[in-house]
Symmetry: C2
Subunit: 353 residues, 2 copies
């Protein structure tokens, strides 16, 4: 017969142990699902735990043990849909695993970025950190992380390097498929808006585009290619330029949605019907892609899935940190599937041109 000894405040492991008539070590074993506890004992303890609403305190577990049950997410651009998706996936996986996600927004060009990271890791002692672009490439961040000996996973880094696990999608393949989609609709003159040279995705997406064009024996017209900066305005400008020529493409594929929306704006201001006069495709499936008319054909990045996997890897490495079964995730590079989202901004080339 158990009885409540203290009703107020939150119960500690000692309270539970006393009520259950076992040692705190046994309660600890049960809470951590460790083997080596009699089924009856385990069930009995579990019952008491439920009854007393006992929840281990993170700070105590963290101080005594080797894990903090905290995962850090470092990001830069706050408005990006990309980060939203990543955070969503990370937070859900964390909850499932009894972990918590601590977010930190930093400026990519902050002079004290290294210290900020250092501050975060040494105070919090997270079991792992997740980096999103462009932080994946920031030497100060990477160095601070290495020095703190905090495990970390990169999401969509520029390139995979040995010893740093990463999760990504296949940008080249996605761009290739999108281009093939346009070609299959009947387009032969296809324009392309590139991203800025200093971002990894830019080159990869252009590569996919030109690869598909070449595969179908179509020329990549220089006049139809423009280099933007991933922002709306550059898409608008690029499209204005491309569409002002004597010969126009019947479709333009932009390296991201924001620029694709710029193309759409350009087309509308020029009185071109989309997709009849001009098909437009983007990349990202940002929220805005479904908030325009016609809705944008685009590529959906597996942001949430990438984040889930990143969390997974970090938790696993924390768990097995000093186990016999060393799971080495340090050279794991995962590639997740994307999704072609065909909407109304692409169609067969019109008859009007």
């Amino acid at each position: 017969m158990e009885m409540n000894i203290k009703a107020s405040a939150s119960p500690t492991i000692t309270d539970v142990a006393r009520v259950a008539g076992v040692s705190i070590k046994t309660v600890s074993r049960v809470m951590n699902k460790e083997p080596g506890v009699h089924t009856e004992t385990r069930e009995h303890v579990l019952r008491v735990v439920t009854q007393m609403k006992y929840r281990p305190k993170l700070s105590a577990r963290s101080l005594a043990g080797a894990r903090s049950f905290l995962i850090g997410l470092l990001y830069y651009d706050p408005s990006a849909a990309f980060v939203s998706g990543v955070q969503q996936g990370a937070t859900l996986r964390c909850r499932e695993a009894g972990y918590h996600l601590v977010v930190e927004s930093v400026k990519d060009d902050a002079p004290d970025l290294g210290q900020q990271v250092d501050q975060m890791t040494s105070a919090l002692r997270p079991d792992g950190m997740i980096l999103t672009p462009p932080l994946c490439e920031n030497p100060h961040v990477l160095q601070a992380l290495r020095e703190s000996e905090t495990p970390f996973v990169l999401i969509s880094p520029e390139r995979d390097s040995d010893g740093i696990p990463s999760v990504r999608m296949d940008d080249v393949l996605a761009a290739e498929q999108m281009t093939a989609h346009l070609i299959s609709l009947g387009h032969k003159k296809i324009g392309f808006i590139k991203g800025p040279a200093d971002q990894a995705a830019s080159a990869l997406r252009y590569k996919g585009f030109s690869r598909a064009m070449k595969a179908h024996a179509l020329p990549v017209e220089k006049d139809f290619v423009y280099t933007g900066d991933f922002k709306f305005h550059s898409g608008l400008e690029g499209a204005n330029k491309i569409l002002s020529r004597r010969t126009r493409p019947t479709a333009i594929f932009a390296s991201n949605d924001d620029m694709a929306l710029g193309i759409l704006a350009s087309a509308q201001s020029l009185g071109l019907a989309v997709p009849d006069d001009l098909s437009i495709a983007g990349f990202d499936d940002s929220p805005a892609a479904s908030l325009v008319w016609p809705q944008l054909t685009t590529i959906r990045q597996p942001t949430a899935a990438m984040a889930r996997l990143a969390v997974e890897m970090l938790i696993t490495s924390a768990k097995t940190a000093d186990d016999e079964v060393q799971v080495d995730v340090s050279s794991t590079h995962m590639v997740l599937a994307h999704e072609l989202v065909i909407r109304l901004s692409t169609g067969k080339p019109g008859k009007r041109l």
Copy 2:
């Protein structure tokens, strides 16, 4: 002359005390900026701290003391620009104060929502929680929070209630100003797309609209008012309906940007020029508002500032929890200034109609 006693691993308060030749209590005082330490002693300790790169461990501080230096942010809609802004402001203020932000994305209609909150508060023991709509109104969340005795602040709740601090903007005033702006441009027939009845902002914004109309002796035509659900599609539908009537308004004001973008799409599909044939105004200044052509006239909510203030209130209440000077924030309701963002989607009523 100090010398490094242990170079490896991270130094603890004991290490610092030994090197500095003081007690750990003195180091603790210095780290917490407590008064009652000789300036010389303080400076000396500070020097050793810097030299050894000492950083107090959060878990130890949390376990021993009354504060966790953790603030929780509970949100529902992950894609919302609103949440992004709030998080941005919260994370920055937290860093300044040496706090960290733990985020948790929950489903508004999850059956175990109360338990989720309970789990979070009892494991993490955050010094405070921030809630965003529609969680501000969720009885399970509020009850779980109250039971856990975690202080919390509501951002833009439906209504202010005694004992629960809140931060908001003045929706009525903002809608009034936007309407006045349209009227000042010369519009007399102005349509309005309402938000869903179950969201507080809906009624407030409509109130501001009708108040301004009345102030200028203009009628609110029932045929020009439509009730949407804050989503793109409902704006599109509402506009289609309103614009299909014999008499059309020369301007439509939507209760949020997503619906305003729906109006824009409708206008474009009907061949109406914006703003010449139809002026369109939104509410939120979402990212998409600047990603369309013409860019949307809208209202910018002070999301980041609201979050900063919320964090501020929580930190203050945590600090003074058992001080003599009790700052009671429990009945504080702050109202922050918004901003009218006039862009190209509004203009003088055209001559064509």
